[in-house]
Amino acid sequence: MRRYPPRGDKPFRYPRAQEENESPRERRRLFESEEPKREPAPSKGSPDSGYAMPEKNASERVDSETAGQVSNEPESKELEWREPERPDNGEKTITGMGVESTGLAGTIELATAFVPWQMYGRTLDLREALRLGTLFPELTRTPPRYKKPGTRGEE
């Protein structure tokens, strides 16, 4: 199924994931709590390898509820990727101008670049649009007259 961005003709509401039962991240979290935790494979590679779980964390993850199932798992010789533990603060939303703008992915995550979505609004007169270089007034900027790195167009 193809998924497209929110419709421009409806009142805008980011993130779109909320329109469904649960966000992908919520689903993932629920799933993780249901599934038996697997014992990380003994690290054959470099101890610094990002794919090997540090032993301290591994022992924390194996809690009493799932410990029995874990022992039944055949030990894999392959290094296995495990989702790193992370604090549950990923569901914050940014709000500006009364619009939730957290992007389609649903949340703002650390170490992830994010550009706010443009919404369709007023468009410029065609002659003016060609002169300025865009049809959308909200994207127009004034070029800096003097060198001022990092100002993104403001004088």
């Binding site: 689903r27 629920l30 002169r131 270089g133 070029p143």
Partner: protein, 203 residues
């Protein structure tokens, strides 16, 4: 395929011969952050994009960059077309003239020819879109420097148009990036071993 249309995207104009300005503007023709690099970068990254919006955006922006290449070429051509040899020597464009006369060639402002290592096509869609966002910012900065260097108000207007386009393209790539994050966050759920989302919903 591509079709050529016999018109510019923007009515590029210059006030008169100005080989000194041509010497620096040409970097947006064949320089590291120029329009040739931009176009080829986007058009070659299209093939490994996983979502239709990314393929469309790269195709459309890559094609627009070809049009920008033509605008920059027009500027350079019109700035040196009627320049005298004396002007060319005074502007320091004589070394270019020795190799290319007044023809257009893909070089940066100091005369180094275009190389493919200006661009990257990494195969990781998130990485590639970041590369493109950085490329748009680099081109924007270059146009700002060129506007500072320009003493031709008509050429400056054209440079301003191209400058603004970089900002619009940055916005589009930012939206593509978000669509990719969305795509992968969904993908991740469905690819997990032994997890059937439908069964999970019913329980």
């Amino acid at each position: 395929m591509w079709v050529y249309q016999k018109s510019l995207e923007y009515p590029a104009r210059v006030r008169g011969p100005n080989p000194r300005l041509a010497k620096v503007v040409i970097t947006q023709y064949g320089g590291p952050d120029g329009e040739l690099a931009a176009s080829l970068r986007y058009l070659t990254q299209r093939y490994t994009m996983p979502i239709p919006q990314a393929k469309a955006a790269l195709t459309d922006i890559g094609t627009e960059e070809l049009a920008h290449m033509e605008i920059v070429a027009t500027l350079v051509y019109q700035l040196i077309r009627d320049a005298s040899i004396e002007d060319i020597k005074r502007a320091g464009l004589d070394s270019y003239y020795a190799d290319h006369d007044k023809a257009l060639y893909f070089v940066n402002a100091s005369g180094a020819p275009w190389v493919a290592s200006y661009i990257q096509s990494k195969g990781d869609p998130i990485t590639d879109i970041h590369e493109n966002m950085a490329a748009e910012e680099k081109a924007r900065s270059t146009y700002e420097y060129l506007m500072q260097l320009s003493d031709d108000p008509d050429a400056t207007e054209t440079l301003r148009f191209l400058w603004q386009r970089e900002i619009v393209h940055f916005q589009r790539f930012g939206e593509v990036l978000d669509l990719l994050h969305d795509y992968y966050s969904r993908q991740h759920v469905f690819e997990m071993k032994g997890y059937d989302p439908d069964k999970f919903r019913q329980s």
